[in-house]
């Protein structure tokens, strides 16, 4: 019975991609959708499962997502176990063999990217909700955005060979816009290179490395563990000792503790958005950095 069913499924696997309509791309993050849309232009439709203003670790596995996945030609994931809490059952229920891990319609965007903080020793959950394959917030470095765009362009060209030239054009346009923008962001942040900051969650290692911020502490005592009084006190002492000007908070965390710490120390709380869609102004991958860079500069200049 098994083998009969398995054989019966083979034709569907080869026939699905033959559609002449737009390529349907489902991504887990709006960031990946934005990059895919920039590369694919009007040859693709994109849909992101997680909204940019929600915690990407905690997304509900809603059946409406099954519907989106069942129709997808390409699924792009952030990988590194960021989606482990909701994506596997959705993919299993999608009835779409083309988007299972290992198939051509499945793209793990982390491959080839500069991923930081891969634990080198044994990992236990006593460390909190650690990601054994490295910190999954890697798209906050534009260099990784480039890698992701290249991987998407290559995969799209493979799935939709007629569009190869269009995808290459899309990629080139994305690259040169990113070049131009990176100079602008560098220029704005150059006076503040080396600034020490504290962040709520460990979301910013790639952003900090690229834009030379020094993340010296987190309000969460361990990843995924909410603030505790003793750790909050340590952070207050750290901020006072090191004269840290900024506390970065992702938009989906409660600002009560950060504001309390700011009140005690005089540091400024800045909402920094990890993803496209984090706020209405952040409509694409470029705006993500525009808004975050401006927010950092405004907060730092406001303290002078």
């Amino acid at each position: 019975l098994l083998s009969v069913l398995a054989l019966a499924s083979v034709p569907s696997a080869t026939g699905a991609a033959a559609a002449t309509a737009k390529m349907r791309i489902v991504t887990t993050l709006q960031d990946l959708s934005s990059i895919a849309a920039a590369v694919g232009g009007d040859r693709v439709d994109t849909f992101a499962l997680a909204k940019g203003y929600q915690d990407p670790h905690f997304v509900d596995a809603k059946p409406s997502f099954v519907l989106q996945l069942s129709r997808a030609d390409l699924l792009i994931v952030a990988g590194l176990e960021l989606e482990v809490g909701y994506l596997p059952p959705l993919v299993d229920q999608s009835r779409n063999a083309e988007i299972h891990p290992g198939a051509r319609g499945y793209l793990d965007a982390s491959r080839g990217c500069d991923v930081l903080q891969r634990p080198s020793g044994p990992v236990t959950r006593a460390m909190g909700d650690v990601h054994p394959q490295g910190n999954p917030h890697y798209w906050t470095d534009p260099a990784n955005g480039r890698v992701i765009a290249r991987a998407i362009a290559a995969r799209l060209a493979e799935l939709d060979p007629d569009g190869k030239a269009a995808y290459e054009r899309g990629l080139a346009a994305f690259d040169s816009e990113l070049d131009r923008k990176e100079k602008e962001w560098d220029q704005k942040l150059a006076p503040w290179f080396g600034t020490k900051v504290v962040s709520f969650h460990n979301s910013w290692p790639n952003f900090a490395k690229r834009f030379r911020l020094d993340v010296v502490g987190h309000i969460e005592p361990k990843p995924g563990i909410p603030p505790t009084p003793s750790h909050t006190l340590e952070i207050i002492q750290l901020i006072e000792r090191e004269r840290i000007p900024l506390i970065l908070v992702e938009p989906y965390f409660d600002t009560k503790t950060p504001k309390y710490i700011a009140g005690k120390t005089g540091a400024t709380v800045v909402t920094l958005y990890p993803s496209v869609g984090g706020t209405e102004e952040i409509t694409d991958y470029f705006a993500l950095f525009d808004v975050n860079v401006d927010a950092l500069v405004a907060a730092l200049e406001g303290r002078r």
């Binding site: 019975l1 098994l2 069913l5 398995a6 019966a8 499924s9 034709p11 569907s12 696997a13 909204k51 203003y53 929600q54 905690f58 509900d60 809603k62 059946p63 409406s64 099954v66 519907l67 176990e81 482990v84 809490g85 909701y86 596997p88 059952p89 993919v91 299993d92 229920q93 009835r95 063999a97 299972h100 891990p101 290992g102 198939a103 491959r111 080839g112 500069d114 891969r118 959950r125 909190g128 909700d129 054994p132 394959q133 260099a143 480039r146 890698v147 290249r150 991987a151 990176e182 560098d186 220029q187 150059a190 690229r210 030379r212 995924g224 909410p226 938009p251 989906y252 965390f253 409660d254």
Partner: protein, 414 residues
């Protein structure tokens, strides 16, 4: 590169102390010079930054090419391997191991059980070991073993065929029957430490209805992104709920589910169920069941870590053939669960159910819960429940439950 930076650093660090020793008018000149130096320093630093960024981008590109040409790591199983990144020789063998997790379930009970069968005062009941892995490009397998203090049983063990044509999804093996919503949930996904009375009285007992056989589910297109799925399950005739007198007596379950988003923050989940199977009273007598389940969820996405509401309700109707009389029993429950803070949630439930084999008897009662979850992997829950039993006695009990999860990170229940 580094030598030049550190040299500049030394010069800059040494400068202020040298300046302090100069006469005041020289200080201004020095300041200007210092400013000029700093400007040059920052300029060259920015230039170097850009070069480093370029080199990094180039490296990333090379890595990508390397990654693209390197062989794919073997099966990236749904819950990815817990261990080190690809290439770690010692870990290669564990790629082929199924993802494994254990969910422990400790229950302590206090209070007055009335004349009902009392629960033990403390029990490590129904802990679950889950093993799952992708079998091949066409299937995955899941095995859930339930460990109680008295033994082990297979709660579920099935293969899911994920690559079928025509939007079909098949499961073969032993599985929780898709009758209603709560019956499909494992204990750790339920918002209470116990089963509601309609499941206990009408669906075969505390564990609910688990069948062994085949399940086939198809997506039925509806307009406007409404999810709609019909499931047909055919099980062997004997289970906690049904009892076959012959091998050819089978049990059937039909379930139809509609799900719709009512905006980003809320959604509605509706289900209709129908089941039929032999009840073993005579060779031809059967039991038929109808069910209706509804779940409304509200979770503002941006505040999703701290707030959320789930309203549930289910109604079952059982028609049990017997030579002397046909028993029509009705049962229902309704519940509301609220997340109050990152780690705290609370809920309330009311349950009412007649007994499948005697429609004149019914049990009912309210319950409230309070849950504290220090992390994703540990949860403490207290439930105070009252059950008024048909025989006239009342049980008022406090159930304390501690759950822990170790091993592969499973999906969050929905």
């Amino acid at each position: 590169m580094h030598a030049r930076w550190s040299l500049l650093g030394i010069v800059l660090a040494a400068w202020p102390s040298a300046a302090a020793a100069q006469p005041p008018d020289a200080v201004a000149a020095l300041r200007a010079e210092l400013a000029e130096l700093r400007r040059q320093y920052e300029e060259s630093l920015a230039r170097l930054e850009r070069r480093v960024a370029d080199i990094e981008a180039e490296n990333a590109a090379l890595r990508e090419v390397a990654a693209a040409t390197a062989p794919e790591p073997p099966v990236v199983a749904a819950p990815a391997p817990q261990t080190a990144p690809a290439g770690d020789a010692a870990m290669t063998s564990s790629y082929w191991n199924p993802a494994m997790s254990v969910i422990g379930n400790f229950i302590g009970v206090a209070g007055n059980a009335g004349d009902a069968d009392p629960l033990p005062s403390a029990e490590l009941s129904e802990s679950e070991i889950a093993l799952s892995a992708v079998v091949d490009p066409y299937a995955r397998a899941d095995l859930f073993l339930a460990f109680g203090e008295e033994g082990v049983e297979v709660e579920e063990g099935f293969v899911t065929l994920t690559a079928l044509p025509a939007n079909l999804l098949a499961k073969v093996g032993r599985m929780r029957a898709g009758f209603g919503k709560v019956n499909t949930l494992h204990f750790h996904s339920r918002p209470w430490p116990d089963q509601p009375l309609p499941v206990v009285n009408l669906l075969g007992g505390d564990e609910g209805w688990i069948g062994t056989g085949v399940s086939l589910a198809g997506l039925l297109p509806l307009p406007a992104d409404t999810f709609s799925e019909a499931t047909l399950q055919v099980f062997g005739g004997s289970s906690e709920l049904f009892e076959a007198t012959e091998r050819s007596d089978l049990a059937y379950n039909l379930h139809y589910r509609v799900f719709r988003d009512l905006g980003d923050a809320s959604n509605l989940d509706l289900g209709l169920s129908w089941a039929q199977g032999p009840n073993g009273v005579t060779a031809s007598s059967d039991t038929r069941l109808w069910g209706l389940d509804a779940t409304y969820r509200w979770k503002p996405l941006q505040r999703g870590l701290y707030r959320g509401t789930v309203l549930r309700g289910e109604v079952y109707r059982s028609r049990r053939d017997a030579p002397d009389a046909v028993q029509h029993a009705l049962g229902w429950f309704t519940s509301a669960d609220f997340q109050l803070a990152r780690r705290w949630s609370t809920g309330a439930r009311y349950e009412w159910s007649e007994r499948a084999d005697d429609e004149t008897l019914h049990d009912s009662g309210p319950a409230v819960t309070l849950t504290f979850a220090p992390s994703d992997f540990l949860q403490l829950r207290g439930e105070v429940r009252r059950r008024d039993f048909a025989e006239g006695d009342t049980a008022t009990e406090l159930l304390l439950q501690l759950q822990f999860a170790i091993g592969a990170h499973g999906a969050h229940p929905f």
